[in-house]
């Protein structure tokens, strides 16, 4: 396991899974998994379909209860932490969130303030500032009074990320935030996550499909297969032809990215020999 390249701040949150077994009684998706999320860094989880990566993320985000084991935040089982307090620490952007079509962008982003607000409280200046800042950081300030239904897919994704920014958690988990976006918008979203990580020190855990982008944006790369972690570390160490063949059943050439020197996966034509698809 590689040490982070920059030392994380002393108060960076420590999120980990210990002996995590997950799934349904009779069908275990994840079996006895241990993982420590690098504090203050960007962790990317990759793996074939049905490898358990979304399930792992859902458990890290306490959306599902483990069958065995636990997810710990600063050594405390997340399922014992009061919901709203946990929501100030740990945010999740699921794969396909739903928005009422007529709702304005600003008010949707404002929903992210829920864990910070009193039960019946009015909007505070701090809430308003957090929402405005989140919209500015994601470049959607001019869209504030537009309705969600009018937005393009790329704009919508930025609104959801703005909502997570307004929530202002110390750890942000995202499940395939770039799916359905064209390449330019994918890069835009990922650059946004990098800025969030650099500027606010937010720990980021993100599930991605595109291996080249995963390698380029990850400080720490987690490769999953059949509910287990088969490789974990810096992308350059982890993403080898052997790992790709093992985890994805894909014969590929791995070369350094000419721009960033991170690993670039080039599939060999006809090289998908044993796609591990067991949905």
């Amino acid at each position: 396991m590689t040490e982070p390249r920059i030392a994380a701040g002393p108060d960076a949150p420590r999120l980990s899974a210990r002996g995590l077994t997950a799934g349904y009684p009779g069908r275990r998706v994840i079996e006895d998994l241990d993982l420590r999320i690098a504090p203050g860094r960007i962790t990317v989880i990759i793996g074939a379909n049905a490898s358990g990566k979304s399930t792992l993320l859902a458990h890290l985000a306490r959306l599902q209860a483990p069958l065995e084991g636990a997810v710990l935040l600063d050594d405390v089982d997340v399922r014992t932490v009061p919901r709203r307090r946990l929501a100030r620490e740990l945010g999740i952007l699921p794969q396909q969130p739903i928005a009422p079509e007529g709702l304005t962008v600003a008010e949707l982003v404002g929903r992210g303030r829920h864990p910070h607000r009193g039960l019946m409280g009015r909007w505070t200046a701090q809430d308003a500032a957090a929402v405005d800042e989140a919209m500015a950081a994601t470049g959607i300030a001019e869209l504030a009074d537009r309705s969600i239904g009018e937005l393009s897919g790329g704009q919508r994704q930025r609104v959801w990320i703005a909502m997570a920014l307004a929530q202002d958690p110390r750890i942000l988990l995202l499940d395939e935030p770039t799916t359905f976006l064209d390449l330019a918008h994918q890069i835009e979203v990922l650059d946004l996550l990098v800025r969030l990580n650099r500027d606010r020190g937010t720990t980021i855990v993100v599930v991605l499909h595109e291996l080249g982008l995963a390698a380029r944006y990850a400080d720490d790369l987690v490769v999953m297969k059949d509910g287990r972690i088969v490789a974990h570390g810096a992308p350059a160490d982890v993403l080898t032809a052997e790992t790709v063949a093992d985890a994805f059943g894909l014969e590929a050439l791995v070369i350094p990215d000419p721009l960033t020197a991170t690993p670039l996966v080039i599939p060999v034509p006809g090289g998908a020999h044993s796609a591990p698809d067991r949905a």
């Binding site: 919901r83 739903i98 009422p100 007529g102 709702l103 304005t104 829920h114 504030a144 009074d145 309705s147």
Partner: protein
């Protein structure tokens, strides 16, 4: 990378929020004025027309004793019941539709009104009960259906599909039970029951007004508390949990409140159709901007039911028509329009 936020014309969060709030306040105030105007009309009309000035004087404690009696004891109970019951139905419908993210979800289509009908028809025809016992039996019937819906609501993660299916099943089941009970009943009894299951406000005393008023006050207070978490549940379960709310608790509480409102109303005035279905989409298309518009939906329901009752009483000279017939006649074209257009959704 897109250009960073320009400071040109970017309305801040508070400005946008205030615009939405102002719009909701304006629409709600206009609906309240409409409801009050309909109330005045209901108090003016009757066996003889009382001039508006006399009516208002009697309404606020002046005028002759006879005028006060006619306004407060003869006309007000029926008008007040229409307003309060309509508001309760409108609120119940808005809660169900938000919960199930479905503009067709309502007490009629979810079988709650059907459960009330079975209860009332059983009480009248089989048990031979009268008066308050019929209302209690109707409430029990609606509550029984609601318990099953509540159990289905635990699995609302599928977007309420199962709850809607269970409800539609109950609606058909109760229609056939009512049909069977009516078939074997005496003719004179069947007449009473038929009037009840159409939905009727006739011969009203203050008693149901007080009961419905109390239930509505409770339901409105609960809805005010639930409004914010309910708004969150619109974003889907994973996000709701991520934001620190408890979707199952919110949904269960919402179903309990909505069922209480719908069942109490059905117990006293029968399963009046359309109001629970139509009030929220109308209110939301007026308020717009994705608002839940719960107060506006309640006021719309109240105004619609009162106006429908006035139409039923006075639009057909010579004989009056039960309010349920009027709302049903309005409801059918409305339902088709809703299915054909997207306006009923949260546009």
């Amino acid at each position: 990378m897109s250009a960073p936020a320009q400071t040109g014309r970017a309305p801040g969060f508070l400005a946008v929020h205030r615009t939405t709030a102002r719009r909701a306040t304006t629409v709600t105030a206009a609906l309240a004025a409409l409801a009050f105007a309909a109330l005045c009309l209901a108090l003016v009309l009757g066996d003889f027309v009382m001039p508006l000035g006399d009516m208002l004087r009697a309404l606020f404690g002046g005028g002759t004793q006879i005028e006060r009696y006619i306004v407060w004891q003869v006309r007000m109970p029926r008008a007040a019941l229409a307003l309060l019951a309509g508001a309760a139905l409108g609120l119940a419908g808005a809660l169900f539709q938000t919960l199930l993210r479905n503009p067709l979800a309502s007490t009629d289509l979810l079988g709650i009104s059907g459960g009330a009908s079975v209860g009332a028809v059983y009480a009248t025809l089989v048990a031979g009960w009268t008066g308050a016992a019929i209302a209690a039996s109707a409430f029990a019937g609606a509550a029984a259906v609601a318990v099953v819906l509540l159990l289905a609501a635990r699995t609302l993660a599928d977007g309420g599909y199962r709850m809607v299916l269970a409800g539609v099943g109950f609606a058909f089941l109760s229609a056939s039970i009512v049909g069977y009970l009516l078939k074997r009943a005496q003719e004179d009894q069947a007449g009473t029951v038929l009037k009840w299951i159409t939905g009727s406000l006739g011969a009203t005393t203050w008693e149901p007004v007080v009961v419905i008023g109390a239930v509505l006050a409770l339901g409105a207070a609960a809805a005010a508390l639930l409004a914010r978490p309910l708004q969150l549940t619109e974003l889907g379960d994973p996000l709701v949990r991520g934001l620190g709310a408890h979707p199952v608790v919110v949904r269960t509480a919402t179903v309990v409140v909505a069922v209480l409102l719908a069942a109490s109303t059905a117990a006293f005035i029968g399963p009046v159709s359309f109001v629970a279905l139509g009030a929220a989409p109308i209110a939301r298309s007026l308020v717009g901007r994705g608002a839940l518009a719960l107060p506006a939906a309640a006021l719309t329901g109240g105004a619609v039911l009162l106006i429908a009752d006035l139409v039923g009483q006075y639009a057909f000279p010579g004989h009056s028509v039960p309010v349920g017939v009027v709302t049903g006649a309005v409801g059918a074209p409305y339902l088709l329009w809703l299915l054909a257009s997207s306006k009923g959704r949260r546009a």
